[in-house]
Amino acid sequence: MRKLRWNWFAWAGFLLSILAFVSYFTVLVRFPATRDVPWANFLLFGAAALFLLAGLKRAFTGLGSLGGKFVSSALALLSISILGVFCFVVFRATRQLPASHGAPTVGQKAPDFTLRDTRGNLVSLSTLLSSSPETASSGAATQGVLLIFYRGYW
């Protein structure tokens, strides 16, 4: 019987682990359904684990060589590390946000401010809120303002 030189189970498992990690940040993070709970990535990690287990089993039973045992073990350890980093980023690093006790709460008045817009014009919250007369005459009164604070793109 011809002995395969590549333990493709172990390599497939390792590559799947990389895919499970990378696909979150490149693709799946864009969609709330796969972003908020990264279930798709854990499915991929699960599939990777199955391949790695099959690869380890192959390396450590019967015809497995010493090199094969080493390579498949190393791939399994690397994959576990990738999973570990993924869990750290997803469950810890992105939650390191300072608490915001002083932010206006429901029912409070939002503090007024004046800042420059993208054309360099000064815009204040109060004028935006009181800009209803013009829009009201066209049939749609200003119903309020959605205020979004974001981290910025640098």
């Binding site: 972003r35 429901v106 503090p111 800042l115 993208t118 205020l147 604070f149 910025g152």
Partner: protein, 90 residues
């Protein structure tokens, strides 16, 4: 309306690329961000102080009707959340 510490030119770039048509305001020294207690110290590039993500829905008299202060950078309010809040507050 969106607020960040980005310079007006950077926000203008972002709007052009992403096709955003609403108002983007620049708060380079994070003064308004601080007033709203939304500062995330040292979290930006080169340890700049930036804003933590937050969304407020204000009615026409400037009263907060809905607020979302996420505890996880990854998890933001969705468009549906905001539309629902906007509808239920009128």
């Amino acid at each position: 309306m969106a607020i960040s510490v980005d310079a007006p030119e950077e926000s203008a770039d972002l709007c052009r690329k992403a096709g955003y048509t609403y108002t983007f305001l620049s708060d380079p020294n994070a003064e308004v961000i601080r007033r709203y207690d939304l500062l995330h110290p040292g979290a930006g590039v080169n340890a700049h102080d930036i804003a933590r993500p937050a969304e407020f829905l204000l009615d026409s008299s400037g009263i907060v009707r809905w607020v979302n202060l996420t505890e996880d950078l990854r998890v933001r309010a969705t468009l549906e959340d905001m539309l629902k809040a906007a509808k239920s507050s009128h």
